[in-house]
């Protein structure tokens, strides 16, 4: 019989708190679901309990004994195993080696290979998987790799299990099998917690549900004591912000996407964005929203049509699309949006160097004054335009990324998660800016997982699920409940 008790767990990344004093009880024999919107802190909770991230505050007890995990190895040694969304592992090693990785049975003179394969086969058999332990990991299917990951936990003697959206990459049959394994682990006396987006799974499988919102614990529900609608309300349920989009005065169509397909991610997606209009792509992580944004910007191969200002841009490179008035603020500003070790000036004018060069020489005075001017407009807080971008806070970094896009004077602005990981003040500034731009006639396509943000900015909302358009709402018809229901494939009746 094993249990895990966490009290007051707090996790912060770079000073931004993502989990604030959350309690969690995993009891033996019980399947516990951990649910919440994107960014509610579900994964952070699972990671903090399993040594992957270090909580800044809080206590974890295993079987009533207080433990502190400095790294995943210490958690594994204490019997806590986190099964990741994307299976880890070593493609070029055998299944047996992967199962026993990190604790290969030894004998004098090397590895005890017989023991490796016996142990691996035994662990796999315990979860009803019959895989040749001599095969290379690379030759396995996603579900089999997941099984190897589970068997690795078994080989390490794990008694407390976390599954972090493990079913996301599996087919319905495979995922049913995974839940059967979780049930079996629980029946053997293990404590099991799983993080998921899919409400159906929660209703079907969970005995107890922990609901998180904005990094806080908002409710613990017992099986059968709630409906899916209650769950959605609890997940979304912050006071509806009074903000609403600027007046909707759509102009000409700027972006037309017809039957867009990105292999493996997006299937037959069509929508339009007009001048002066903000269109949000809502949906769960992995629904294909970013893939649509990247295809529109020419960053990936696609089939179907993408028209900007009436012209098919299929043959234009990403750079050519920027020159023709399309600008992107990508979701990961640290890796995709900015050059962190370079100055604010350099970053802000990166996409518009053409306008700042005279016969091939850069006009540094012009660059500085344009940066300072844009910075003032965006409320950028900085010491000098030569300051390195990596020294700025998340919100100010995002403003530099926005400045880069705006200095290119876009007709169509594509924003991917424009306020992820920024503080409230910067978020407000970004929202104000988006409204102003729409008023000035810029067409804006926004990918956002933040429902209040979608409700506050978008004139129209395109909800994606599993690579297709699940629903489209005009602002006045949309409610957070309807959007969540469409995004997670829940019962559409609860939307009304």
């Amino acid at each position: 019989m094993s249990s895990l008790t966490a009290r007051g767990l707090t996790v912060a990344y770079g000073g931004v708190e993502v989990l604030g004093s959350v309690d969690l009880d995993l009891r033996p024999g019980e399947l516990r679901a951990i649910v919440g919107e994107n960014g509610a802190g579900k994964s952070s909770l699972a990671k903090a309990c399993s040594g992957v991230v270090r909580p800044v505050a809080g206590v974890i007890e295993i079987d009533g004994q207080a433990r502190f995990f400095a790294n995943p190895r210490e958690a594994l040694d204490a019997g806590v195993c986190l099964v990741h969304q994307e299976p880890l592992g070593f493609d070029d090693l055998s299944v047996g080696e992967n199962v026993c990785a990190g604790a290969w049975p030894r004998k004098s003179g090397g590895i005890d290979w017989k023991q490796v394969h016996n142990q691996a086969a035994a662990c796999l058999q315990r979860i009803q998987f019959d895989i040749d332990t001599r095969r290379r990991l690379a030759s396995l299917s996603a579900a089999e790799r997941q099984a190897v990951e589970l068997a690795h936990g078994l080989a390490r003697g794990a008694r407390v299990w976390f599954f972090d959206e493990t079913s996301a990459a599996l087919t319905p049959t495979e995922s049913a099998r995974l839940f059967a394994v979780m049930r079996q682990l629980a029946a053997e006396g293990c404590a099991v917690g799983f993080v998921t987006h899919h409400l159906q799974e929660v209703v079907e499988h969970a005995d107890v549900i922990t609901v998180l919102r904005d990094g806080k614990l908002v409710g613990v529900l017992d099986k059968g004591s709630f409906t899916q609608a209650d769950l959605v309300k609890l997940m979304v349920g912050r006071s509806v912000e009074l903000d609403s989009p600027s007046a909707h005065k759509p102009g000409e169509t700027v972006l037309r996407v017809r039957l867009l397909c990105v292999p493996g991610a997006v299937q037959d997606v069509s929508f339009e964005v007009k001048a002066g209009e903000v269109v949000a792509l809502a949906g769960l992580v992995g629904a294909g929203r970013t893939d649509v944004a990247q295809a529109v910007c020419g960053l990936s191969r696609y089939r179907g049509e993408v028209e900007v200002c009436g012209q098919d841009v299929r043959r234009r490179s990403a750079a050519a699309r920027w020159r023709e008035g399309l600008a992107l603020v990508p979701e990961d500003r640290q890796h995709q949006g900015l050059l962190l070790p370079l100055s604010i000036c350099t970053n802000a004018t990166l996409a518009s160097l053409g306008t700042f060069s005279k016969v091939g020489w850069l006009d540094n005075i012009g660059i500085r004054s344009a940066t300072v001017e844009k910075g003032k407009e965006l409320g950028l807080v900085y010491q000098s335009p030569d300051q390195e971008v990596r020294l700025l806070s998340g919100g100010n970094q995002q403003k530099v990324a926005l400045a880069k896009a705006l200095l290119a004077k876009p007709k169509l602005l594509v924003l991917d998660e424009p306020t992820r990981g920024v503080d409230i003040g910067a978020k407000y500034d970004v929202h104000t800016l988006v409204r102003q731009l729409a008023d000035q006639g810029v067409a804006i396509l926004m990918v956002s997982s933040d429902l209040p943000e979608v409700m506050a900015l978008a004139h129209r909302i395109v909800v994606m699920r599993k690579g297709t358009v699940a629903a489209e709402f005009a602002h006045q018809d949309a409610t957070p409940e309807k959007i969540i229901a469409a995004a997670s494939g829940g019962d559409s009746a609860l939307a009304s």
């Binding site: 995943p72 880890l88 070593f90 493609d91 070029d92 990785a101 990190g102 090397g110 590895i111 290979w113």
Partner: protein
């Protein structure tokens, strides 16, 4: 690929497939093979050791000097001092890469120059000549096991020792499997509690020790060492041999037999170009072209394999 080159060369000139040619190939092989064997586990961990060419030069000269000063020293002692000196030089790379976390390329470009500089300091403008080197050592290249018309020289047999050792360690031992794990997925390796630092440390010391051994083999083969030229560009040949032998620069996989095949190809091409009477000015260009062709074949094959996996 090797077979292809041999067939093409023999077709052009039947003399190519003569015992003399084979002997030259076998004599050309040991130094390159040992350096490549050292390089291989480093590349498997996504690293690179560019310093080995200079290590070979420095060790060859130093061991030559030791032998010159103490002519009575037995040959095994010369090998031991070469190994020890190589491992010491390798440990400098190991500390910089594994502990100070300097990128391997930067580290070993730095030590490439530094070790060559040390060789100049040791040499003080002098050279090691054949009459300075114990005949017991140079005989290792002249004599060997006679297999029919060809002679497998003792230097090559010595080179097989680290080859067999490495093959066993990589395929069977925990540290060897961890080398593949660290190269294949460093994040997963750390999450599963493997000691990544220790593995990196070990592979750079191994690379240095192998280069040290290669330095002594160099001394035995040529009996002549100039600090300015011994081992120059050897690191590039060794890296080429490893990559041609099927170890991806991105790490995580590869086999010792592949590295052996890569070295044989390079040796055959190198010797073959002279035997075929290709003008000296053209040899380097032709050699480069063959290496690039081998890499291209490998890359195309790899891509075909990958796309078939995706399709499955």
């Amino acid at each position: 690929m090797t077979v292809l080159v041999v067939v093409a060369a023999t077709a052009r000139d039947p003399r190519f497939l003569s015992p003399q040619t084979l002997d030259s190939v076998l004599l050309w092989l040991p130094v390159l093979l040992v350096v490549a064997l050292g390089q291989m586990p480093v590349i498997v961990t996504k690293g690179i050791d560019i310093s080995v060419g200079s290590t070979v030069g420095l060790v060859a000269f130093s061991v030559g000097l030791i032998g010159k000063v103490n002519p009575s020293l037995p040959v095994p002692v010369l090998f031991a001092s070469g190994l020890a000196l190589g491992a010491l030089l390798g440990s400098l790379n190991a500390v910089l890469v594994a502990i100070a976390k300097v990128p391997p390329v930067v580290t070993t470009i730095g030590t490439l120059t530094a070790f060559r500089g040390m060789a100049f300091l040791v040499a003080q403008g002098k050279q090691i000549d054949t009459n300075n080197v114990a005949t017991a050592l140079t005989d290792l290249g002249r004599n060997g096991v006679h297999l029919g018309p060809i002679t497998v020289n003792w230097l090559l047999w010595l080179a097989f020792i680290p080859g067999a050792l490495l093959a066993w360690v990589l395929a069977r031992s925990a540290i060897g499997r961890t080398v593949y794990a660290v190269g294949g997925n460093p994040v997963a390796a750390a999450l599963r509690g493997m000691d990544v630092k220790r593995i990196l440390f070990s592979v750079y010391i191994w690379s240095g020790a192998c280069a040290g051994l290669a330095g002594v083999l160099y001394l035995g083969r040529y009996g002549f060492v100039s600090a300015a030229s011994a081992g120059v560009n050897l690191e590039l040949n060794a890296i080429a041999a490893v990559v041609v032998g099927g170890v991806p620069v991105s790490g995580g996989s590869g086999s010792v037999l592949g590295v052996l095949a890569g070295c044989v190809l390079l040796a055959v091409v190198n010797v073959g170009l002279s035997v075929l009477g290709i003008a000296a000015d053209w040899q380097l260009l032709a050699y480069g072209a063959v290496v690039m062709a081998a890499l291209l074949v490998d890359a195309v094959g790899r891509r075909a394999k990958e796309s078939s996996v995706v399709a499955a």
